[in-house]
């Protein structure tokens, strides 16, 4: 019998939930005998695709940020290199700062606090429920994430309608508040929490299941309250995961475009988060140079955020190894 198949049979038979995870952060040794060359070979397809279809257009876009290129008009035929002019314009542009501020609110409210909080709360509460309850809630939460953006946008427009929307109908005021006009940021924050909690729920579900049950049992026997258990037993285990999760959803939410389908950045730029701002500048305003520059600024901000998170993750990992 060929050796590979024996190994496979062994692997499939022996795989159980109890494994030995490789500790994060330690240098990996080339146990599989991949070797430099072959590893490069494995990476090549992805690298090729990324190189041509991601890096190239992205760098080009950032280059356009240094020109006054427009999609129509004379600057379309003969764009000039204007160096840092677009950036100067951005730094002095109140609508740009408005957009950044709104994006910050959006990310903090819907991702860092909202999705994280709700995802964790649901994961924690669902641990001890009946299987069918857990499955149903999971199914619904995931469904909200699976449905295509244009569909969910319409669903929420219908929810928040002034005349006859579901929220107003439940509150009993028809016609009631025009939510998307009077509280647009609140509207899109709640929408994004609804939309994206699935990822956090799944992550925390898996993370919580990795907390050794014995520790939880000990805490319960010692009479620790729920809050204390959370703080002393659970958090140390999931801190790394929580940070990774928060990093990913921060980056995703920062660049999220879907709220455009609900409020189009309005009314009067009140919900013009940065992805919508870029869209309005590029497509409605036709100013490709400016939107390219804004894209670079956004990239740098994302980089900054990522670095902050990475440092926190590394600290958390170090703390964990020390305990």
């Amino acid at each position: 019998m060929p050796p590979a198949e024996t190994a496979t049979a062994e692997a499939e038979a022996v795989v159980t939930p109890v494994g030995v995870p490789a500790p994060a952060g330690t240098p990996t040794t080339d146990v599989v005998g991949l070797g430099r060359l072959r590893a490069l070979g494995f990476i090549t397809p992805a690298l090729l695709l990324i190189g041509v279809f991601l890096i190239f257009p992205a760098v080009w876009t950032l280059y356009i940020g240094a020109t006054d290129f427009r999609l129509t008009g004379t600057q379309a035929a003969e764009p000039n290199i204007v160096g840092l002019a677009n950036y100067e314009r951005a730094l002095g542009d109140r609508s740009f700062y408005n957009s950044l501020w709104l994006t910050l609110l959006f990310v903090l409210g819907s991702a860092v606090i909202g999705q994280n909080g709700l995802g964790f709360a649901l994961a924690w509460t669902l641990r001890d429920t009946a299987e069918w309850v857990r499955r149903t809630v999971e199914a619904l939460v995931l469904l909200a994430w699976i449905l295509p953006s244009s569909v969910v946008a319409f669903l929420w427009i219908a929810m928040l309608e002034r005349d006859g929307g579901t929220v107003n109908a439940l509150v009993g005021q028809v016609p009631g508040t025009a939510w998307l006009i009077e509280y647009p940021m609140l509207g899109i924050i709640i929408f994004n929490i609804w939309r994206g909690t699935a990822f956090s729920l799944m992550l925390y579900g898996a993370a919580l299941s990795s907390v050794p049950p014995s520790h939880l049992e000990t805490a319960r026997l010692a009479g620790a309250s729920g809050a204390q258990t959370l703080r002393d037993v659970v958090f140390p285990y999931i801190r790394g995961h929580a940070l990774t999760n928060t990093l990913l959803i921060t980056l995703w939410t920062f660049n999220d475009f879907t709220p455009y389908l609900i409020t189009a950045g309005g009314p009067n730029h009140e919900s013009e988060i940065i992805a919508v701002y870029i869209y309005n500048t590029a497509i409605v305003g036709g100013d490709m140079g400016y939107s390219g520059a804004i894209s670079l600024i956004v990239l740098l901000i994302n980089l900054l955020l990522a670095l902050v998170y990475l440092r926190a993750i590394r600290t958390a990992a170090r703390l964990r190894r020390a305990t």
Binding site: I43, I50, T74, R162, V284, G286
Partner: protein
């Protein structure tokens, strides 16, 4: 030395990227197209494609069906009679205007795509500046283009809508006019006449006041405002008022800034929205225009400024999107008055604005002569009548108008009375942005700023857009 795979790959990719970027962007885009207008003129077999922002079963479905069911079969048959085998394809799209515009710009830029494009009249300027479209006479030959007999049937202002710097870039495809609609039944309840024809802005305000007093729960006036409604705010709201105050948005080399006319317009907005005669919330709604239509159809708005599109597609009894079964009895229409009699442009007592688009040729087309032939075919008298498909609608051809509009008094009125009074938007590349600044000014007023402040802010915005205060009229 030891460089990791990741770092090396990264460097290579970045280097490659920069090199290609430098090469590509300088030698940028789209091949040099053959500029000979007579190329492939003798081809016996060819394919042409028409593109429009219309799609069967969706946006502008009537237009899409016309192309697919009439133009294409008829043209193919017509060409067959001349011994040519032709395939004509239709490239529909149903996207929003701005998205369609971007797509068309990209296609034209690369010199690819359809041979004939349907575009909005206000895009002509910027497309021409960008080199995306060329004068018709350059593409198909001056004698062939100027010699078309259809031009005599198309009024000059309409032709100007598809022209730039004195040259024709496309053939207009329809036009329209704006009027002020009112609900006759609500008027009766408020004690206003069924044949109401206001002669000044004050009369409009007075009628609105009467509605407000006698019919609480009904919004007296719907005058489009704000940026959510986009160009609809300018076309149905600000611009008709502006020409009624005696000024065009651009004239004699200058754009309107903080002038008396603009202040008058914004002052009118102020009187309506601060006087409780209008609904400010709906102006800021992303779907505000649709909601205003539904509200009018439900008898919740008394006076509404809109184009003839409203009559034939919104409140139309059978197929309208906010149909009113009693439209012919309940909906009245009147000319939009100037601020005071004689205060409008050209000294007119009544004013209006018109828009519309047209079809242009793609300079990258392989068959310019044949494409021009198709374009003429699409704008012949029979084709235009076929486009209407029995519906009454204002076309760009006067011979067709006089025939088909006889049965519809409203559209006849527009064709005969409104079109002679109307004005068009300037075909400059920067117009859409100036229009946005104007929409923003109306939004400022609706949300509480004073007309004077809004006008000042508008002036600043326009100065920034058009490159200097010397290009902006103020006072």
């Amino acid at each position: 030395m030891h460089r990791s795979i990741g770092a090396r790959a990264r460097m290579l990719a970045a280097l490659a990227g920069v090199l290609v970027v430098a090469a590509a962007t300088t030698g940028c885009l789209g091949g040099e197209s053959d500029t000979d207008s007579g190329r492939n003129a003798d081809a016996k077999e060819f394919t042409l494609t028409i593109a429009a922002n219309a799609i069967a079963g969706g946006k502008n479905a009537a237009g899409a069906e016309w192309v697919e069911k009439w133009v294409i079969p008829q043209f193919v048959a017509d060409q067959k009679g001349k011994g040519r085998t032709v395939t004509v394809k239709f490239q529909p799209s149903g996207a929003g205007d701005e998205e369609y515009k971007s797509k068309v710009a990209l296609d034209l830029r690369a010199g690819t795509g359809a041979d004939i494009y349907s575009i909005d009249g206000i895009w002509v300027g910027e497309f021409a500046d960008a080199g995306y479209i060329k004068p018709l006479s350059d593409l198909a030959g001056a004698d062939k283009v100027d010699g078309w007999d259809g031009w005599s049937q198309i009024p000059q202002p309409a032709q100007n809508n598809m022209s730039y710097q004195g040259k024709r870039y496309g053939v207009p495809s329809g036009t329209d006019g704006r009027v002020v609609y009112f609900n006759k039944k609500l008027f009766a309840q408020a004690g206003l006449p069924a044949d109401w024809q206001p002669k000044s802005w004050d009369e409009i305000l007075a009628a609105g006041q009467a509605v407000k007093t006698k019919l609480p729960g009904v919004t007296p006036i719907q005058l489009n405002a704000g940026t959510a409604m986009g160009e609809a705010t300018s076309m149905q709201g600000a611009l008709p008022l502006l020409v009624g105050a005696g000024a065009q948005i651009w004239s004699d080399g200058k754009w309107q800034g903080n002038t008396q006319a603009i202040r008058d317009v914004l002052g009118f907005y102020e009187k309506i929205y601060k006087g409780g005669l209008g609904d400010p919330v709906i102006q800021q709604d992303a779907k505000g225009r649709d909601k205003s239509f539904q509200a009018f159809a439900a008898g919740k708005i008394a006076i509404l400024f809109e184009g003839d599109y409203f009559w034939r597609s919104v409140v139309e009894p059978n197929k309208g999107i906010a149909k009113m079964a009693d439209r012919n009895d309940a909906v009245g229409y009147a000319l939009i008055p100037a601020m005071k009699p004689g205060a409008g442009i050209r000294g007119q007592d009544f004013v209006s604005m018109s828009g519309g688009g047209g079809n242009v040729l793609n300079p990258g087309t392989k068959y310019p002569q044949q494409a021009w032939e198709l374009l003429q075919f699409m704008n012949s008298k029979e084709a235009t009548v076929a486009l209407l498909n029995g519906a009454a609608r204002i076309t760009h051809r006067q011979d067709v108008n006089s025939e088909v509009l006889a049965g519809d008094p409203m559209l006849s009125m527009v064709s005969q009375k409104v079109l002679p009074l109307t004005a068009y938007r300037p075909g400059f590349a920067v117009y859409p942005q100036v229009s946005q600044a104007l929409q923003q000014a109306t939004l400022d007023v609706v949300t509480g700023k004073s007309a004077a402040d809004a006008a000042a802010a508008y002036q600043r915005a326009v100065e920034g857009l058009v490159g200097g205060a010397d290009k902006v009229a103020s006072g």
